[in-house]
């Protein structure tokens, strides 16, 4: 498998999940 293909298959979903988790943590309501 060409490395560039592995990169584009693996990295974008990891980035999407990373942004989601950061958003999840930062949007917590402060009491």
């Amino acid at each position: 498998m060409p490395p560039s293909t592995v990169f584009w298959v693996v990295v974008p979903p990891a980035v999407l999940m990373a942004i989601t988790i950061i958003y999840f943590v930062l949007s917590r309501e402060r009491r």
Partner: protein, 480 residues
């Protein structure tokens, strides 16, 4: 009995039971159109996802991967980014604003947000919704006919009749609550299918190295995410066009209403996590299914590329499980059609009847009118599907682009920019829908890039420029 048929009948029984059990929960129009804003994070997240992805995800995307190899990944990336943007930028503010303004539908929201007593925004947005959604639902019925035809050999007409009758039945019975609960089942089924199937197929084909060597033997370019293209076709056609599909999410009324139905705005952060986990599993799974099909059947190995998912399921899974996985494609179609049917219904019952004809109507009457409206739009969509045949299917492309460009920029700007005016939003809706339709019909333009990209960009410019040219609105509280 054929295990595939048994799986499908079991699935249909579940949705019919949901229809009966949710019937008694619909006492007011807010119940019928938004499940009384009482839904939890799981159900809203899976309902938004199941409604957002029609049979295109489980049938079309694997077909694209079968025909073009790894370059199909761009569609998954574009959609994933669009869905995340919608959950992060639109969900919370829309939920808070619509409750503050007492809005049940998007036309309600636009009218109340800008204090538009002339009803201009309501009428334009309602017209865009009724027009595009009748065709949209109709295309889903056609897809039902196609899937039931290829799976069980039913005549397409009979498949369409069965699909349409069941969707209309449980939507009339249970309204949004029935639609959301069936979406939950359908969403889980779709994700489960897209985990199990690629895993089974890839292991059977010898893992990553086995799949890579089989595809490499056909054509090395199929292994590249560029598909071997370079220059303008690569950037404009493949990358921008595929990523551009994702722009549509922030403007789809049947998805935005999901955000409005959640019990507490704070639950939307959990919903984002659930929805995005689903996206990664389902979209990447769908591409990997198509790639497995490409490794096994080769280019041109299947007469119709859209048969790849059912074929891969039948080959690599035990018959009973393959039946459930193929049912997921029907579930995908039904979960999209029911939500679209309900949005079109809301345009009739809330936006026209309640707001413009009879403001004093009782809740009982409004629910009854909604049920009649659901049947009426369902029947019109069915007749259209009968008459227009394949052509309606193409209308999905207009509808996605038209709705995305008409409502997307108007929605995002109205939620985030206080300076947005009624006339800015009006201009955005008109420019977005018009450019989408015109671009799609001019071959030179259409070949250059997917119509949603220019339509969205120009609509955004229209909202901003016209808002700045018109008198500033009164100060509004946009906090979410």
């Amino acid at each position: 009995m054929d295990p595939i048929l048994a799986g499908f009948i079991g699935y249909l029984l579940v949705v019919v039971i949901v229809g009966f059990t949710t019937f008694r929960f619909n006492k007011t129009l807010a119940d019928f159109l938004l499940a009384g804003r009482r839904l939890g994070a799981w159900i809203v997240a899976l309902s938004e996802r199941a409604s957002g992805e029609s049979a295109w995800l489980l049938i079309g995307l694997p077909g694209l991967a079968l025909a073009s190899g790894f370059s199909a990944i761009w569609s998954a990336i574009g959609c994933g980014a669009g869905i995340l943007t919608s959950w992060m930028l639109v969900a919370r503010r829309l939920r808070v604003q619509t409750e503050r303004l007492g809005a049940l539908t998007l036309p309600d929201y636009f009218e109340a947000r800008f204090g538009d007593t002339s009803h201009l925004l309501r009428i334009v947005s309602m017209a865009v919704i009724v027009f595009f959604f009748t065709f949209y639902v109709s295309a889903q019925f056609l897809a039902a006919g196609k899937v039931l035809n290829t799976t069980f050999g039913l005549a397409p007409l009979h498949g369409m009749l069965i699909g349409a009758a069941i969707i209309i039945f449980y939507t009339i019975m249970g309204g949004f609550l029935a639609v959301a609960w069936t979406d939950l089942v359908q969403g889980l089924l779709m994700a489960g299918a897209m985990i199990l199937l690629p895993l089974a197929a890839w292991i059977e084909l010898g893992g990553v190295s086995g799949v890579a060597s089989k595809i490499g033997a056909i054509d090395q370019n199929l292994l590249l995410v560029t598909g071997g293209q370079t220059g303008r076709p690569l950037i404009m056609g493949l990358v921008v066009g595929s990523l551009g599909i994702g722009l549509g999410y922030v403007g789809q009324p049947h998805l935005l209403t999901r955000f409005m139905a959640i019990r507490h705005a704070r639950d939307l952060r959990k919903g984002t996590l659930i929805a995005m986990s689903w996206v990664v599993v389902a979209f990447w799974g769908a591409v990997l299914v198509g790639i497995a099909g490409l490794a096994h059947f080769g280019l041109g190995g299947l007469e119709d590329t859209e048969h790849v998912m059912p074929q891969v399921a039948s080959l690599f899974l035990p018959a009973g499980i393959a039946g459930v996985v193929i049912s997921a494609a029907i579930a995908a179609m039904m979960s999209t059609a029911d939500s679209q049917l309900l949005v079109a219904t809301s345009a009739l019952s809330e936006d026209i009847y309640h707001q413009l004809v009879n403001k004093e109507a009782s809740q009982k009457r409004l629910v009854a009118i909604s049920r009649i409206g659901t049947v009426a739009i369902g029947v019109i969509a069915f007749v259209l599907a009968l008459r227009a045949e394949e052509k309606v299917y193409w209308f999905v492309l207009y509808a996605w682009a038209g709705l995305g460009a008409a409502f997307g920029p108007a929605m995002v700007m109205s939620l985030w920019w206080k300076r947005t005016t009624k006339w800015g939003v009006f201009a955005g809706m008109v420019v977005g829908s018009t450019v989408a339709v015109v671009w799609h019909n001019v071959a030179v333009l259409k070949d250059a890039v997917y119509e949603l990209v220019p339509a969205f960009a120009l609509a955004l410019v229209a909202v901003v420029v016209v808002s700045l040219l018109t008198a500033p609105p009164k100060d509004v509280d946009l906090s979410g």
